[in-house]
Every structure is written in structure tokens, then in C-alpha cells.
Subunit: 395 residues, 2 copies
């Protein structure tokens, strides 16, 4: 006889980790809309409209703006594998897990990979990248705009120019950035960019929005070897997302509905409003965490609003605190990755999760757990500090 | 200002194409359950239970049975890319689009690809495969169990033995087969197999169940080059799906919930009951289609119950009939692919779509459209023929 697993009864969590983030009820409703065919006229129209909204969020006119049928890492794999031919040079800027992952992806694609590194939590200067360009002469430079493992925000405004001057293409990881901070694909000269649905777009994981400009598409069309991935081959995918509508693979219909609704929510709020909301709640959270004596892992002035990585104070046990948040309060935050494993907490304020109620609930819960575990701080200090920020901006 | 796309208003369709198939309401409900983290204790428990149910549906004890974070084609890419190292021989058995796709995937993985072909709609004999094994000496043989482009059912029972005798591994495409006809992974000696959620599992597209036995895993662990795909690298994925739970990528949480519920529905019905239901409705559909004068594209005795590919009669226009079904009746069927483009219709009875009401509604609609377009048949003949089958089996 069969063994039938019990009915699903997932706990309701407040998702304040590095993703997935809290999902707006309208997005979950969209996810459960009736499935239709991937060549249904309504679905094709939906794809067009989705592309139109993605272009606005990426701030681009790029024709080749679409959603890859996999999670954020599939977006990275798609961009790297399409842009790189075996033997070509790839420069990866590594200051955390995801820069390292990009280097690994480029190796899998057959690239000659060079890396530049800077300490975790810090970001690269234009001069460092320029120097590496002259030394390694890569065809593609990969850099992470919002390092989810460290909470560092990499400025990009001047980087594209030096990359282009050196005859290379600029590939940007915006998995955590998109929807939470300004991403100017066209104005900054980004050639290729990818993201994921489960961060600041506040949609369940499962799709990876990407955008490629004409320069990137020219390189792809000029390939002399096929992309090593058939599933992620942009030259084939462009026939389905373009006017031909040639069948490639069956698209994740319901995830597309969810992303569509998530993008509607962002555009209804307006990108500027969305970014300033992330910034406001980040400031309140940071004030509270600072009052509790916690220090940020990322360098001052380059801290992401949506991913707050703080160092775990001496004497506190990572698992006890994170377990207490989850078990006693239903709040998920993330542990450290790589060199920060066991040493940092990653507190997300992504998309729909960036709300005052989340910030205040989290600070109240964390303060209680810290006091209970012998950490020294003044009771009530974190909420008072956060509220001071909120009253300053009229919340 | 932003241009916000209109609210989603997808039409309600009866999905009788080659997938996606009709979704049971319980599966859509599961899809919309609250998102939780990919390392949440409840999610890890859900993964274990999902694997337990997948093993029952695949009829295997394989530890490495899991869901790939992409659609069915990602399952194909995962299996091919993990099993093949550059320069190794891959034999693809091609009798339709998906055998051809497997050959292409193997080329992308760097394999030396040999193909054997048989006419579309026909299947391979053991002797043909044996001959090719001796000639090409491949490391991996890829074959499609249920060719979605032709509706042909490839018997597999004796193939594994000859493949193993020749020192190769057997890789099976069960995208359309799984959940609709018997798939005996362990008993038949299948080394690696993949499927998709959107066919007979009756779940939205977005995940690809796969299963690999010890022989396959040994080959993967013995690789001297890394898998060309990082996203689909089974040696990394096995650390997340295994007891280590090492983070690899963010899993598609809500799609996992949906697949979980879809598998519960199948096991509640029982595999045998599920297969005989597919067979019963196929017989009724076939009787109706035959009464209308339509001929199957696949050879007699090797026709799939869940994918009925029929040749479009002379004088009828493909787009007119399929468009009429969609527009006037809300019924989606598939057009032909490859050599069958414009020449065949593909009528799916997959999972929850395999119901008497679908068969009767479809036949009634098709008959009306055929008569309206000058096709000669006796009014009411298709329903009468289908009902005769149903009364014979007590429906």
C-alpha cells in the first residue's frame, strides 16, 4: 500500500531572512489563479505585459527583458553561460558568497576566470576594477550589486565606463537589489543583469528576471559555440519571448501570474516610494540594532537597506537566538554564510517585509531573547530608538 | 510615470493539450499556502515527505529522488549534464521531438552523440538498440518513454538489460509518462529518469522530479570534470536534499507545496487506479475519435493513453479547429510539433484532465466544429461510441 504524507500545514512565518521574503496576499492569490496553456493567447499577452513591467523596474528599454524559468541562481547561470564562450576571460569581483558563485559559474561555462577580492563587507573601487581590467583583459566582468552574504552595496555608476573602455561587458547580480534600491540598467550602462523573484519583488521563489542589452545580444548572436545550457539558451528563449512564440519549454504559468501581480504592486507604489520605504525601515531597524549594541558587517555608507548583516556579539549562541526567534515568535532571519557562518545574522527587510510592524516586532523579540541570554542592554532601548527614527520621518 | 498592467483575468480553460494539464483545486490551494523559508524545519520535513511520495510514484528506493527547480526540460538537462562528461559517448533514440532534444542536450554537455531513428509514431525494438550499442559503445543511452510529440509508448522492460550488458547507463524521459502509465524504475533497471509536474502529475509547470540509482550516482561521484551546470549539479543538490541540508539555491517553496498535494491525490487514488482511469478515458476518447474518422499518429498497440495524437483529416484547417475549440468551448488541445506541424492534433488526458466530462465535452465540441467545417461524419457518432466504452466498463 501507499504511504500518503499528511496534509500540508505550513506555519505562518514573518520572513525577515535573506529571502524568501514576506509575500503580499494579492501575490499568493495570483499564484493560485487557474492554470492556462503556455501558448494561450491570454498567456502570451500576459508575457508581453510582464516584460513591460520588468523593463520599468530594471529601468531599461532592452527588448530582451524576460523571466528565466528557475530561481535567481538560474538567472546567474543563464547570463554567464550565454555571455561566455569556452576559453574567454571572465573577471569576477568577489567580496562574498555570490561573487564567488559567479566565478564558479564562469568556470563551468569554460571561461578563463580571474578574480579580484576585497574583504567581506567592503566594496570595490573603480580603480581596483580598472587595474584588474588592464591586467586580465576579460571579455565579461561580473559584479554583485547587493551582496546577500554581507549586506554590502556596491556602487556601479562609474564602473560600466571603465569596463566598456577595456572592451568588456558588464554583468550585474541584482538578485537582492532589484525592487529595493535604484537599479538603472540603461543609464549606468549595464550590459546584462539578473535578479530573483523572492527578494524585494516579494514573490515566491521560482523565476529569475533578466535583461540583456544590444551589446550583450550581439555577443550572444556572434557565438561560434552553442551555449552549454539548452534550457537557458537565450538565443532560443528569445524566440518564445519574442514575436515568433516558438515553443521552447513549458513556462511556469502560475509563477508568471505571481510575478505579474508582484510587479503591479511595486509600480502602484512607485519605484521611488518603494526605495524610500526600504530606506526608512532600514534606518529604524539600524537604530534599534545599534541601541542593542550590534555592529553591521558591511562598511558604513555602503550598507544595504534590505539586507542587514550584523555581527553576533561575543557570548551569544547563533542557534539559540535564531531558534528562539523562529520558535517563540515565528520570525525567520538568516544565519551567516561562508566566512560569516556562525558569526553574523542577516536580517531582511525585503519588499512587503519592509514594514514598521515587522521592524518593531523583530526588535522587541530580539531584545527579549538577548536579555534572556545574558546580553547587556537597556530594556526598551531598541524600540525607543526605532520609534525615534519613525517619528522623525512622520510614520 | 509607470505603466501598470491591468489586473490578471485569465480565462478558465479545459486543458486537454500536451500539458499543462487540468489542475485539481486542492493543488491550486496548496500553491497559495503561505511561503516559508527554504531552511525552515517544516520545509525540510516537507522535502523528506515529498521525496517519500516521489519514490512511490517512480517505484524506486533510490535515495537520490528529488525535484529539480525548473520545468521538465530542466530535468532532462540535469540528468544529461550530470551523467555525461565531455567526450563520452551518448546514444539518443529519436522518434520525435523529445528524443531529438535529448541528443541536443547531450551535445551541449560535450558528449559524442550518436542517434538511432525510427519513423515518428513508431517505437524502437530491443534488437535495434542492441545493434546500436555494439556499433557506438555509448556510456549513456537516452530514450523517451512517452513521446509527447507523437503519442507513442516505448516499452522499456527488456532494454535496461542490453544497455547494462554493453556497460552503459539507461536514461529515461518520463515527462509525460509519470503518473499516467506504469513506470517501474527499480524493477526495469532504469538508472536515471526525469519527469515534469505539468503532465499526469497535474500540477502547474515549474518542477522536474528526477531519480538516480546507485550506478548513476557512482558515475557522477567519479567525474573528473565538474558538471557544466552549477544550478543543476546533482553532487551539490544532494547535499541540500540529503541530511546535510547545505544551502545551494533558494528552492521554489510554493511549487513544492503544489507538487506535494498533487502526489497526495495520486497516492490517495492509488497508482493502479490512476493508470486504469487514464486507460479507460483513453479508450472512450479513441472510440469517439475513430467514429469521427480520425486516425492515430502512433502505431497500434503502442498508443499512449494520456497523449492522443491524431492526424488532421484532409480538407480541415488546423488553426480553424483548434481556434474554435479554444474560443467557442474554452478547450485547449495541442498542435503538431516538428514533422507533425500542421498535420496532427495532440489531445491530452493527463492526470485530473482524464475525466469522462472532459472526454464527452471535447468530443461534442470537436464533432460540432468538424461538421461546421464540412467534414463528413454521422451526427452524434462520437458521443455514442465513447458512451459505449463507458457503459462497457460501468462508468
Amino acid at each position: 500500500m501507499h504511504e500518503i504524507a499528511p496534509p500540508l500545514t505550513p506555519p505562518v512565518r514573518t520572513l525577515m531572512g535573506p529571502g524568501p521574503s514576506d509575500i503580499h496576499p494579492r501575490v499568493l492569490q495570483a499564484l493560485a489563479l487557474p492554470t492556462i496553456g503556455h501558448l494561450d493567447p491570454y498567456y502570451l499577452e500576459t508575457m508581453d505585459r510582464l516584460q513591460g513591467m520588468l523593463r520599468q523596474v530594471f529601468k531599461t528599454k532592452n527588448q530582451m527583458t524576460m523571466a528565466i524559468s528557475g530561481t535567481g541562481s538560474a538567472g546567474m547561470e543563464a547570463c554567464v553561460h550565454n555571455l561566455i564562450e569556452p576559453g574567454e576571460g571572465f573577471l569576477a569581483c568577489v567580496n562574498g558568497v555570490f561573487g564567488g558563485r559567479m566565478a564558479e559559474e564562469a568556470r563551468r561555462a569554460g571561461a578563463e576566470v580571474a578574480t579580484i577580492e576585497c574583504p567581506w563587507g567592503q566594496v570595490f573601487s573603480v580603480a581596483e576594477i580598472e587595474e584588474a581590467l588592464h591586467k586580465h583583459k576579460p571579455k565579461v566582468v561580473g559584479i554583485v550589486m547587493a551582496e546577500t552574504s554581507t549586506g554590502a552595496r556596491q556602487p556601479l555608476q562609474e564602473i560600466a565606463d571603465v569596463v566598456h573602455d577595456a572592451g568588456a561587458l558588464l554583468l550585474v547580480d541584482a538578485v537582492t537589489a532589484l525592487g529595493g534600491i535604484l537599479v538603472e540598467v540603461d543609464q549606468w550602462g549595464i550590459d546584462a543583469i539578473y535578479s530573483g523573484t523572492q527578494k524585494c519583488l516579494s514573490c515566491p521563489p521560482g523565476l529569475a528576471p533578466i535583461s540583456l542589452n544590444e551589446r550583450a545580444m550581439e555577443k550572444i548572436h556572434a557565438r561560434t559555440t552553442p551555449c552549454r545550457s539548452w534550457y537557458l539558451d537565450v538565443s532560443l528563449l528569445s524566440n518564445y519571448w519574442g514575436s515568433d512564440r516558438t515553443y521552447h519549454h513549458t513556462a511556469p504559468i502560475n509563477m508568471t501570474f505571481a510575478l505579474y501581480e508582484a510587479l503591479r504592486l511595486i509600480l502602484e507604489e512607485g519605484l521611488e516610494g518603494c526605495f524610500s520605504r526600504h530606506q526608512r525601515h532600514h534606518q529604524a531597524l539600524k537604530a534599534g540594532l545599534t541601541a542593542l549594541g550590534l555592529k553591521y558587517a558591511a562598511q558604513e555608507n555602503f550598507q544595504l537597506p534590505m539586507l542587514n548583516a550584523v555581527l553576533i556579539p561575543e557570548g551569544l549562541d547563533d542557534a539559540t537566538i535564531r531558534g528562539g526567534l523562529l520558535k517563540d515568535f515565528g520570525i525567520e532571519i538568516g544565519g551567516g554564510l561562508g566566512v560569516f557562518k556562525g558569526k553574523a545574522w542577516r536580517i531582511g527587510l525585503m519588499g512587503y517585509a519592509a514594514r514598521a510592524e515587522n521592524v518593531l516586532k523583530f526588535l522587541a523579540a530580539l531584545e527579549q531573547l538577548l536579555l534572556r541570554n545574558g546580553h547587556s542592554c537597556s530594556p526598551g532601548c531598541s524600540i525607543a530608538a526605532a520609534n525615534e527614527v519613525y517619528s522623525g520621518c512622520g510614520v
